[in-house]
Symmetry: C2
Subunit: 342 residues, 2 copies
Amino acid sequence: MAQKLARQTVRLEQPPYLAGFGNAVGSKEHQGPLQDWFDGYSEDDRFGQKTWEKAEKVMQEQALSHALKRSGMGAAALDALLAGDLLNQCVASSFAARGQEMPFLGLYGACSTMGEGLLLSSLLLDGGGFRCVAAVTSSHFCTAERQYRTPLTYGSQRTPTAQWTATAAGAVVLAAQAEEGAPRITHVTVGKIVDLGVTDANNMGAAMAPAALDTILAHLRETGRSPGDYDVIVTGDLGVLGRELLLELSKREGVDLSNNHEDCGVLLYDTVAQDVHCGGSGCGCSASVLTGYLLKNMERGEFSRILFCPTGALLSPLTTQQGESIPSICHAVAISTRKEDF
Amino acid sequence: MAQKLARQTVRLEQPPYLAGFGNAVGSKEHQGPLQDWFDGYSEDDRFGQKTWEKAEKVMQEQALSHALKRSGMGAAALDALLAGDLLNQCVASSFAARGQEMPFLGLYGACSTMGEGLLLSSLLLDGGGFRCVAAVTSSHFCTAERQYRTPLTYGSQRTPTAQWTATAAGAVVLAAQAEEGAPRITHVTVGKIVDLGVTDANNMGAAMAPAALDTILAHLRETGRSPGDYDVIVTGDLGVLGRELLLELSKREGVDLSNNHEDCGVLLYDTVAQDVHCGGSGCGCSASVLTGYLLKNMERGEFSRILFCPTGALLSPLTTQQGESIPSICHAVAISTRKEDF
């Protein structure tokens, strides 16, 4: 039985294995500093499709296909597919799952979706009713710009605090049983919605940093761990500015994250040379960095215990038009290859 | 430990209790045949707010408040809130949860959301890591019309196969322990995405009926039950036409649902007198019928074992514009007060 440590954190009795993981990315992501860590990419971001939305769907399918391949399992082994994305009504996920004949559970956690997917998947596996589950998510720069901001062809000017929605998808296959040595999820911390009143939809790092802080502090408090217990604490997509805010806010709370904090939005691009302003964002940002750089470095033994904390801004264009501030969330997932943790 | 019966169905080892449930509806729903079963309503569908979207958010808050009150628990007892809705980026749910200080997990299952919420909640409770969880969802006629079709003020003509998005929210508080006699969830069946190629976004009953059939057949097959084992098998929002299709399709499969099948979309309105064409739809339709008519009749002993099967059409306006057909899903949740089931 899973064990509730306090309000938000659950320790998994039978830590589920990350049996396989995969990703697919766009051209800009493939030109960035993490290029060697991805499983596939599209030169023109279209993945052979007529529309950006169909391209995003195909990117999800490719990411799942890579993850299944690495796990050595077929699609028929999956007891459930948990997926979500940024598109209205999460259509990249539903359409990618269509025709795959898998029990399907749709999620909406904005850019925190991979965290929510991993967290729910591992709880389902630990509960005993499921043996093998996949968590998938994606984002696409062109679908996100059209939907949240303006169609690309308008050529709108971006503000300095803006982030660049990653064209990327990531998938993880989780299993109750897998090869020894595969990374395992030991703890999950479910985030609360935090909203300190930021209303600038072009400054999502600032809106999300307090949510990241809230969840990381809850995780450390409830597990009795300190930041140094992790090789790296990696947030989803705070970007350059949001990351600075998180470090500043955590210092005020007496917690020093400066030694081992990374942010997927900062890692994914060369923020200056690639002109992405504050860095990457989107569900696919943390999902592709996790399933590329982070988990592959765990396989190599570079990291043996990480805290993956993707962040999401739960706004819509309409809530911004109606003058609302930006509710944000962050879920934390502790992943380990250390035997002492199981 | 929960027990997987086959691909899609899980039997819960410690069937979670529906400790409390509540709802809030709009004026049209309150004028319908189920008017005596609701906990609250708004005369002008605005719930005291300036915009329809803010009204939908308040309706969710009220439904949860009624559910918590009936459960005798406070908000602080909730280990997690699972919520979703039809609005782009599920903002009714995120904004209703904001400020409630609860661990939050966002779902997207279109009109099947209450099914997805109940099934995930019961699996989390059965897994041992959670003690008390709430599942909430909503829809609002005016927010849905603006988003999916045209703003109300355009006065668009509705097609004969159209359904009326319910202005309604429903909430269920589930707990690992509760008063004896409270209904309990014994089995959950996770739906697959089914798409037989229907492209008419004004005929969602036809698109969703095959998904309902697929899940109901999987549930009966995997549990070894027959339709007569349930007092009522109730789908979410197939409407008049979709319900006819389901009965016809199931007959062809050798399963007779005609004796004890009901549809929330048909139950919610007087479809002729209230001029709603094929009946109700929207996440709030099945959620309010469940938390009103169905669960209150279980309390009274009218029903002792029901199969709740909300259906969702996972389209968006953009997928329709891009010529796509409508992927649909249905989740099934078996709810019982029969001691032999636990």
